[in-house]
Amino acid sequence: MNQSSILDFRSGTFFAPVLVLYSNNMEMISQRLQDKIASAPGFFSNSPVLFDLSELNKNDIKVDVEALISLLRKLSLFPVGIRGGDASQEKRALELSVPLDSGRSRGDAILLEIQKQDDTASEFQTVVREAVRTPAMMITQPVRSGQRVYAASDLVILAQVSAGAEIMAEGNIHVYNTLRGRALAGVQGDIEARLFCLDLQAELISIAGIYKTSEDLKEVSRKKPVQVYLRDQALIIEELG
């Protein structure tokens, strides 16, 4: 075997929901989590998850990191990062093989930079614009049950997305057909991302981690083009045209 074909590092991103805690009461956390999981079992079972303690630490509420990690694992979640912890929490997490996450996803980083550079109107703005113009991923064939698509950009699908299929994009998602599977836009935290489709019959829709399952979508009228976006941390579904 050729030496160079043994392994390869590629740049990649992967998607994990961020669990932001506002309470340190393990029993309540456990109950809430179980409710969430029950509402979308396919979405959460064996899912990686990042937990964010910044809200707690802001208010000086101490949480037992070890208890939290073991609770998550017990519920078949895989903690893959701690965010916003203090030094001792971070140390404890590392000891339990949970790495640290700086909390600066790409989107955040760019936003911060823009604010800093705004008045000087420097080169950076051009850079940002280029980043925004990453060409969309285009899919012309149906996305069938069991298939997954991930776009590090916008995602445009010209065919149907079947129940049991999953499409994810860091940017917007456009489906010019019926959407029956799961669609997750803004998976790296872009709260400006939107989802468009001609007929919303999805199993789950999500923007920047805020989601609705088909249970919550019963009221949506069939066979009408819609857009979905975030307003005040809530998903708004709006008929188009």
Partner: protein
Amino acid sequence: MARIVVVTSGKGGVGKTTTSAAIAMGLAKKGHKTAVIDFDVGLRNLDLIMGCERRVVYDFVNVINGEANLNQALIRDKNCNQLYILPASQTRDKDALNLEGVGKVLEELSKDFKYIVCDSPAGIEKGAYLAMYYADDAFVVTNPEVSSVRDSDRMLGILASKSRRAELNMEPIKEYLLLSRYDPERVESGEMLSLEDVQEILSLHLLGVIPESKAVLNASNAGIPVVLDEKSDAGQAYADVVARYLGEKRPLRFIDGKKGFFRKLFGG
């Protein structure tokens, strides 16, 4: 060069083997030299439906393992001399087949045959994968019920992403829907999905609708593919399917129940 056709579904018991036997016979009857291969190693069903179970000496696995050559293993059909059957082994397990071996057998058959029909086992695991990997065309057999439609959709995803044609970036497998065991009365009463429902979910080229029919059981008990029972509804429906596959235009039959019939009659 032969055209390789896989008859597949995902879900079990939907009528793949019945369909494989019927279309292989239908193609052979039209004068095309056809081979039909049983990929369901361990179960072996096709030879029963073709009525040649007593003539099996060597099988598909023997050929792959080099224990017999193709000519020794192929069984000529008793009703049609353009049709040959390559039976599965009943005594081996599923792992007896491998991608390379299957490829070699198909290549050798391709030299001599016009159509090669591959009867896939149920599921989406290795057996079903091997049966579809080399295909040019796929008949996706679906029953009008939610679980069958879902499994067919899953299989379509596999055809589109895991087949040889997908891997080599060639023109994709041509996918055809064959809606089987269709019972218009149960559709009307809402117990089963309608043709329109299934078409809306799968959006595939429809090759035909096979009605639920007693003729199928009679034919398999007799070991004669149902397409030879020319008086039966299922036999005629399969004959239509073969004709459409070969490019003829034929109107759909056997899709209206009694109510539908009366509704048409009285314009109600």
